[in-house]
Amino acid sequence: MERDTLTDDDCGRFAALVHDRVSGTTGGASQADLDAHLASCAACRSLLADLVAMRGAAAGLPDFTPRTEVWTNLSQRLAAELAARPRPIWTGARVALAMAATLVVAVASSVWLLRGPSTAPVPQASAVPAGAPAAAVIQSPKDLVQDVDEHLRIADEHYAKAITGLEQVVKGGEGALDPALAATLAKNLGVIDQAITESREAIKTQPNNQLAQTSLFEALRQKVALLEDTVALINVMRKGDQAGAAKILGGLSKS
C-alpha cells in the first residue's frame, strides 16, 4: 500500500536524498534506492514535486529595478571621488583659487548628473504657458547640457586670460629671480603645460570625458597658483624681503 505521509523512518531517510536530487547531487547507488522508494511512496513523490517546482521558481525569480536616485547618488559619489583623487601627472603646486575650484566642480558635477540616466519625466519648455515669467521657464535637459558646456567654455577662457596676464607679469620680472629658481619654476610650468595639452587632446577625442575635464581644470588651477606664487616671489625679491621669499618658497616646496 502507498504511504502518503512523511512519518515513516524510511521517508525521513529518503527526504535528504530527495533534497540532494533537487540540488543535482545524488550519487549513483542512492539514486536507485530513491527511485525504488519513490515508486511506492506518494508522500515522497509529492515532496520531490514541490521542491522541483520551488527550485524552478527560485531560479527564475525576477530582478528588481533600483530607483533612479541610486544612479544619481552613485554618480555624485563617483564625481566627488574623482575630484579628490591624487593628481595623476604632476604633484606640484598648492591648490589656489578655491572659489573657482568650487565653481568648476559644481559645473562638472552638473554635467555628470545631466548626462546621467534620468528616467523621470522632465517637463518640456513648450509646456510652460505663454506669458509666464522668464524665471518659471523650465529648461529641457538638452538646453541645460548646452548651458553647462557654455559655462565650462567660459571658465576655460577665464583661466586662459588669468594665465596670460600672470605670464606677462612673470616675464617682466624674471630678472629679479635667482636663475636656478627661475629654471625650476619654468620646468614645473612645463610639466603643468604638458598636462593641460594632454587633457585638451583627451577632451577633443571624447568631449564627455569627465576625468579629462577634471584634469584640465585641475591643471589650469595649478598653473594659476604657480604663476601667482611666482609673481609674489618676484615682488618680495625686488623689495629684498628674504623672509617673505623664504615663506613663499616654503609653501611651494610643501605643495
Binding site: L78, E81, N209
Partner: protein, 195 residues
Amino acid sequence: MAMTPSDRTEANRLDRDIVQRCRRGDLGAFEELYKRHGSRLYTVAYRITGSAADAEDLVQDIFLQVYRRLDSFRGEAALGTWLHRLAVNASLDFVRSKQGRRQRVTDTAEDLDAIAAPANGPWRPDAALDRMDLDRAIAQLPPSYRRAFLLHDVEGLEHHEIGESLGIAEGTSKSLLFKARTRLRVILRGRSGVR
C-alpha cells in the same frame, strides 16, 4: 528568458569593451556598466539584506568598489560572475556587521520549530508556483535559512562556496538549505490552503 550561448558570447564581448573604456576613465562607459548590471546586483543585495534602503546603499558601495577595482578584473570569469560575487560578499558582510550576535541567537531559536511545523493545507504542485508568493515566503524565513536558500537555489552557489562566504561548514550549509526548503514548503502550503 534564458540566454543562448551566442547571446552570452555577445554579452561578454560587450562587457569586455565596457571594462576597457572604464579603465581609460570613460565615465559614460561606467554608466553603461551600471545599466547592464545594476538591477542584478541590487536584487542580490535586496534579497540578502531584506531591505530596499540597505540594498540601495550597498549597490552604490559595490559599484564604487567596482570602479576602484576594475584593474584587478582579469577577465578570466565573465564580468557578470565577478560582479555577482562582489555583490554577494558585500551583502553578506553588511548583514554580518549589522546583525552580529543578536541574529545568531535568534536563528538558533528559530531552528527548533523549522521541521516540526506541520504542513496545513494542500499545495498544488501541478500548478505553476507564483513567484510573488515565493518571494514573500522567502522573506519570512529566519535569516540563516534565507541566506542559504538564496545563495544556493536562487543565486546558484555550491555548498562549499556558501560555506566559505558565510564562514560555516559545508554540511551546515546543506542542513540550513534542507530546513529552509522544508519551511518554505510549509509556508507555501499554508498560503495555497487559504486560496
